[in-house]
């Protein structure tokens, strides 16, 4: 790790320092690394789903087609894990700037961890066990009941 120790005009002095390898350090590194991954995953997802395709004509059938492939399922699974952890850790960083009571912070952190795990497990099961045929059948049944 490098750090800047003096910033005289137009001159930056850099010295190597040893950083403690604690949990905050890994959380910090994770935010950078997952951020780079999300530049591809999340921006790609936005461009593919909201520009190349449009949510204006998004239906269950579109999802049934897309999640028929393990490639898309894997893409969305990666996006899920990185985005949820990056986002909730970001929220934790924001809250820690404004809430200074250690007991409150501890409970907020516990809540965010449990919430992240539940979200990933629930949505992960949803993606992994999504069945395109079942979705098409559900759309068919809806078309009947909506009278289309």
């Amino acid at each position: 790790m490098t750090t800047v120790v003096g910033t005289a005009k137009h001159k930056v002095t850099i010295r190597q320092v040893r950083i403690q390898a604690n949990r905050e350090r890994y959380a910090y590194l994770f935010m950078r690394m997952s951020g780079v991954a999300l530049l591809i995953l999340a921006v790609g997802h936005m461009l593919i789903q909201h520009v190349l395709n449009s949510s204006g004509n998004l239906t269950l059938l579109f999802v049934a087609d897309q999640w028929n492939s393990w490639g898309w399922k894997a893409y969305d699974m990666l996006l899920l894990v990185f985005a949820v952890v990056h986002g909730l850790n970001g929220l934790r960083n924001v809250l820690e700037d404004y809430i200074h009571n250690p007991a409150t912070t501890l409970w907020i952190n516990r809540f965010l961890i449990v919430f992240a795990i539940l979200t990933i497990i629930w949505a992960g099961i949803g993606i992994a066990s999504f069945d395109s045929e079942a979705a098409r059948a559900a759309q068919e049944a809806l078309n009947q009941s909506l009278g289309q």
Binding site: V12, L38, L39, V51, Y98
Partner: protein, 151 residues
């Protein structure tokens, strides 16, 4: 409550020279994305767990106010991505800190350059969809009835 207001007001006050607007925009866009992400993930899981409810929410999200929110989401994701890359680069390259102010401007420039055409395209898409529906005698300003989907 007054201390919360104080915090918000003082956080927003520009202190200059350190990319303070970038910091505020990064924070707000991040929180906005997270708010949407959580809804989106739990909603999308219904594609497996409860398809009729998911189909209803897909229709609901076509309502123009949600479509505008979608454009805002695009802006938030793009800015957060570009500014995040800037932060990451500067974190690992302290010798670039002398270009800090310039780098903040570059990430704003990149954001406007890329978001402007995409945002315009999304607005045009929304308007043309509403026009098509209007031509069919329908309207894009309808909220689908949940009861009819869950029947």
């Amino acid at each position: 409550m007054s201390s919360l207001l104080l915090t918000v007001r003082e956080s927003m006050r520009y202190r200059g020279r350190s990319g303070h607007y970038s910091w505020v925009a990064h924070r707000i866009s991040g929180l906005a994305i997270l708010f949407f992400l959580v809804m989106h993930v739990w909603d999308t899981a219904n594609a497996h767990f409860y398809p009729p409810l998911y189909a209803w929410s897909l229709e609901l999200f076509k309502f123009p106010l949600f479509a505008l929110g979608e454009i805002g989401l695009m802006a938030a994701v793009l800015y957060h991505a570009f500014n995040g890359i800037r932060i990451t680069l500067l974190d690992f390259k302290p010798e670039w800190w002398k270009h800090q102010a310039k780098s903040a401007t570059i990430s704003w420039g990149l954001f406007f350059l890329i978001f402007t055409p995409i945002g315009l395209y999304m607005v045009i898409e929304l308007i043309s969809r509403c026009n098509e529906l209007a031509a069919e005698g329908a309207t894009c300003w309808t909220i689908p009835s949940l009861a009819s989907y869950l029947r």
